[in-house]
Symmetry: C2
Subunit: 249 residues, 2 copies
């Protein structure tokens, strides 16, 4: 029941993302397509992964956005990362049992559950797929480190610019953005929790960037008015997003 490769490629962001790194074989692609076909909806407001839970399943995000975050005493929260179509959710919690944070949908989401057994099974059957998945995991890790640098050493507007550029690169990989902009369902509160700012200040920063002709984020749409300007402002260096792959396979 293998579909034509081009079809799997077109509507399956996961296949699209992974093939950007390794040339997957038809049998690899059919595993991916099987997973993709199994997707179910998850509503906003219900955690997909909850801090400290023992059920270590992972998800393959087919459509919609999610975020992983930690809550602090006092109600504050820090968003560690956003997940977009094609991303693995909770991969580390399956590989490493590190589910010390929550994951919840930002928009209504379609995702396929992957159990630990299935994943390890798929790894032994399709080593190239395993390689590709581990590559994706190491890329995620590099993004967390870069996020840490953002919070520690960049100003609010640099952070915002850097964040938007990173998101843009990630979305382009799955065909959901181009250099001119993309649809973005994140509220200013979500941006604030990710960038370590207050929502009020996020609003001011967005206005500032708009008035300087760099980018416009309104009504769920990011328009990049001056790409090079944003790159210069945030000293964005895309290297960390397309490094070499993993060795363990």
């Amino acid at each position: 029941m293998t579909e034509p490769i081009s079809a799997a490629f077109l509507d399956n962001p996961f296949a699209r993302k992974l093939t950007a790194f390794v040339a997957l074989s038809p049998s690899d692609l059919s595993v991916v397509s099987d997973l993709y076909r199994r997707r179910r909806p998850y509503p906003v407001g219900v955690d997909m992964i909850h801090q400290g839970q023992s059920d270590h399943s992972a998800y393959l995000l087919a459509s919609g956005w999610a975020c992983s975050y930690k809550l602090l005493r006092g109600g504050a929260r820090q968003i560690v990362d956003f997940q977009i179509p094609g991303d693995f959710i909770g991969l580390r919690s399956v590989l490493f049992r590190t589910s010390d944070h929550n994951v919840e949908p930002v928009t209504p989401v379609h995702a396929s559950v992957v159990t630990q057994t299935e994943l390890l099974n798929a790894f032994s059957l399709t080593p190239r797929l395993a390689t590709a998945v581990l590559w994706a995991a190491s890329r995620d890790e590099a993004m967390v480190v870069e996020h840490l640098v953002d919070l520690g050493r960049r100003s609010a507007s640099e952070r915002m610019a850097h964040f938007i550029l990173e998101l843009n690169m990630r979305l382009r990989l799955v065909g959901l953005a181009d250099k001119a902009g993309f649809a973005c369902p994140l509220s200013q509160y979500l941006l604030a929790d990710a960038l370590g700012l207050s929502a009020v200040h996020v609003n001011r920063v967005l206005r500032e960037l708009r008035e300087e002709g760099l980018m416009t984020f309104q009504k769920g749409q990011v328009v990049i008015d001056n790409y090079d300007g944003l790159v210069a402002l945030s000293s964005f260096d895309r290297d960390y997003l397309d490094h070499d792959g993993p060795l363990l396979a």
Copy 2:
């Protein structure tokens, strides 16, 4: 040439750390001891791992402290993590090829180089050791996430308190600290680069914590005057430091 286990345990921080997680067999311990015996000195001021380098070797830190960091345009730097005796340096760069940051000694260091081949070899020969090492890697990752939360959502004094408590827990695991304090070779500049603060503000925060009877950091010595007070201030939760182990082995 296997040494008595107690000897390996006592002067080898790496064995000490790993045995806190899995009971290593005599043959596991002899592998660890062999590595430990191979250690060489590395002076302060010379990078052990340099951003973008292609030689993907890792180090086992036997004595001294190191730090991994990223540099920004403009000279600012962000320290991602400190490495203390018993820690792996650049483990991820061997497993994942993610050497997108620098590592340099903070004090004169003794460490053993581990090549990729050796590591993978040791993994297949001593699976329990592999399990233990991957556990350590996933713990490191949890620390990076917690560090990110620090920078994004905690005030300067909360950050400092949290940092000191985490360091304390880590050092206790290798017998270099107890609940009352520890020797700490970090300058206020290093603390600043790790905590995303200016050195001047680090100094003020330390004074404040001292005056409030919480902790005293002077002359390379951290004295914890009020442990519970620090825990309360920083909402420190040690769970992320002793979670369950990895599944891949």
